[in-house]
């Protein structure tokens, strides 16, 4: 029963990883930017939730209508001020700029909030739980986090596949220059995508902060986990990201059941193993099929550049 419990808890934990990761995946798929400050932005979201909920004296959930638009605005601002400019400076500049931003955020948080670990006030939800069987107890909070991740991914998928905004995003992701040629204004598309990425990161940060604790340095590890979920799932595939997150979560909890000290190591090794065996992630073939059909929400979000025999030759303008 212990193992079943571990798998269930791991799956629920994986939902949180997927929630952080989907913004990373989206931003890379559309703008080809790996935001190394993504984890730090999630932690910023948690701190913003802390400030708002303690000022207003309400559980952090009540502050979400304030917090998420603020995060969206921050994302758009960052895109306009930093990422967009960095993208014009070539391939390396975004990596350098987002890493510099990550260092800045971590240390600004350190100055503003000290390195004490904090937790968020989740109200009655924090401790509520229900029993499936005698040995398996599921926390409502974990379940909410998992369901939220599924809901966010479904919404993104629907937005991408059904709306005119989604068509613009997919066109831009497919081929920037052609999208411009047919009259898509790329900058607003990029700005909204960055806004959504940061808003989902902030939402994930709120869950992380309610479930556990966070401190200014938590961003790097958050980024690493999100990144591993993205790569394991297959870059550009949103549902793959959920599967990747769940795989990470299950590995972490099951190995943690055996020996807590090896839990994080096992997650990293799983990532490196997937990288060795299937560098494109678990869902590449599905994604490529979706691409070939030109269907499927994130189908246009092409995989990252793998340097190697065949895929290394796929330039940005090559037909997908």
């Amino acid at each position: 029963m212990n193992w079943v419990n571990a798998v269930i808890q791991g799956m629920l934990l994986g939902g949180q990883y997927a929630l952080i990761a989907c913004g990373l995946s989206l931003a890379f798929g559309v703008m080809r930017i790996v935001n190394l400050a993504h984890g730090d932005l999630a932690v910023c979201g948690a701190y913003l939730g802390l400030v708002l909920s303690s000022v207003l004296g309400v559980p952090v959930w009540v502050t979400l209508p304030l917090l998420l638009p603020a995060a969206f605005a921050v994302g758009m601002g960052l895109q306009v001020l930093l990422f967009g400019r960095a993208l014009r400076h070539g391939v390396l500049a975004p990596v350098l700029v987002t890493f510099g931003l990550s260092v800045m955020i971590e240390n600004l948080l350190q100055v503003a909030a000290t390195s004490d670990p904090r937790g968020l006030n989740g109200g009655a939800l924090t401790l509520a739980s229900f029993h499936i069987t005698s040995g398996i107890t599921v926390s409502w909070l974990f379940l909410t986090a998992f369901l939220t991740a599924c809901a966010v991914l479904s919404c993104l998928q629907l937005l991408l596949s059904r709306t005119s905004w989604g068509r613009k995003v997919r066109a831009t992701a497919d081929d920037l220059d052609t999208a411009r040629l047919v009259g898509i204004r790329v900058r607003p598309v990029f700005a909204t995508v960055a806004g959504i990425a940061v808003a989902t990161a902030a939402l994930a940060g709120v869950f992380i902060g309610t479930i556990g604790t966070f401190d200014p340095q938590a961003g790097t590890n958050t980024l690493i986990f999100a990144f591993e979920a993205v790569v394991i799932g297959g870059i550009g595939s949103l549902w793959g990201t959920l599967v990747g997150g769940v795989a990470l979560g299950i590995t972490q909890v099951v190995v943690g059941e055996l020996n807590q000290a090896y839990a994080v190591l096992a997650v990293h090794l799983l990532f490196l193993a997937v990288l060795t065996v299937r560098p494109g992630g678990l869902f590449t073939s599905h994604q490529s099929a979706a691409e070939a059909r030109g269907a499927g929400g994130a189908g246009g979000l092409r995989g990252f550049q793998v340097v190697g025999r065949v895929r290394g030759m796929r330039g940005r303008g090559a037909p997908g």
Partner: protein, 358 residues
């Protein structure tokens, strides 16, 4: 100095009016600078005899920075491999030094062995991380550094979380030990700069820059992309391993959270960006800037790092060629030229208007 070779193209032979060009790789400025740097290095080598202790400590820090920056420049500046997990190899070097010293090898000889260990460890690591490019490569290197740190933490033979002190230095007096560490740091720093310089002046340099700016185009022009990346990664890892061994010798203690600190990667990034990527002179200048910043601002703790991060962002967006890129463009200087200089042959040794290509 050799006279620059004069090339006549086939078109010129055919009687078409094509200006013959002279290609040179060296200049009088470069000769003068080489002379100056030999004197400077000799002067630095004499520091323990002339000034002694008080000057050694800050110079050790500065020279360690110079070595780290030059090696990261080989990776990120020339070859386009922005690794933020080079702290992995600092750690590997530090632990390698501990292990060989614990087996009775002289710790100063251990620096060389640590470099070899760093390069050897880099081989399997490269097989994994070099499958990725750009930001994905960067995060994968973070994962590798994290794995190494956890493995060190979980290994009781190297002290686990508490760490170990470096043995084998009890036989030296304090003054001698300090001087030896200083000389070792000087040797590693000079070897890093000179090694990167000589490597980049070879065909490797052209190939690496092609790979760094566009791997697909480089591959289609016949550059063996995988091999170039591998060489850059392994050489940088070996050098960084030697730096890690030096850091272990300087602190006399090896502990996972400090030797695997991501701070080393942040420092490398900052120095190279501020000084100027893909130049030999830039990282040395960047090391000097970081050293001065650290001396003046380290009392402000986290604010110092906010400034470092902010300057890195600003440098990338506004002055992407760094201090040296800016200066050499204005002055037309190239103290350690790595490129080729092409000018009309009949203008002789006059002042060429074109600086070296970046």
């Amino acid at each position: 100095m050799k006279r620059p070779a004069v090339f006549r193209s086939a078109a010129a032979d055919a009687g078409l009016s094509v200006t013959p060009v002279a290609v040179s790789r060296w200049s009088r400025t470069a000769s003068a600078f080489t002379g100056v740097s030999v004197v400077v290095v000799a002067g630095l080598a004499a520091v323990p005899f002339v000034i002694g202790g008080p000057a050694e400590q800050p110079l050790i820090t500065l020279l360690t920075f110079v070595a780290m920056a030059s090696l990261w420049n080989l990776l990120a500046g020339f070859s386009g491999l922005t690794s933020f997990g080079q702290n992995a190899f600092i750690g590997v070097g530090a632990y390698a030094l501990y292990l060989v010293a614990a087996h009775g090898v002289n710790p100063f000889l251990g620096i060389l062995l640590a470099a070899i260990v760093g390069a050897v460890v880099a081989l399997p690591v490269s097989a994994l991380v070099l499958r990725l490019t750009g930001g994905y490569f960067a995060v994968a290197t973070l994962v590798v550094a994290s794995v190494f740190q956890i493995v060190a933490t979980l290994s009781p033979s190297v002290g686990g979380t508490t760490g170990v002190s470096v043995p084998g230095l009890a036989g030296y007096s304090d003054v001698l030990r300090e001087a030896l560490i200083y000389w070792a740091t000087l040797i590693v720093a000079v070897a890093s700069v000179a090694g990167v310089y000589l490597l980049v002046r070879r065909t490797f340099g052209l190939d690496a820059r092609a790979v760094g700016s566009d791997p697909v185009a480089a591959a289609s022009s016949g550059v063996r992309v995988g091999r170039i990346r591998l060489l850059a990664f392994v050489v940088a890892a070996g050098g960084t391993g030697a730096v890690g061994a030096l850091i272990a010798l300087q602190t006399l203690y090896v502990e996972p959270t400090s030797v695997f600190s991501i701070q080393y990667s942040v420092d490398m990034l900052f120095m190279v960006l501020i000084g100027g990527m893909a130049t030999i002179e830039g990282p040395i200048l960047g090391a000097l800037v970081l050293f001065l910043l650290q001396e003046t601002l380290s009392a402000y703790g986290a604010w110092y790092l906010v400034i470092v991060g902010g300057l890195a962002v600003v440098a990338t967006l506004i002055a992407s060629r760094g201090i040296w890129g800016f200066a050499s463009e204005r002055l037309g200087w190239s103290l350690l030229p790595v490129g080729y200089r092409v000018r009309p042959a009949d203008s002789g040794r006059g002042r060429g208007r074109r600086p070296n290509p970046p």
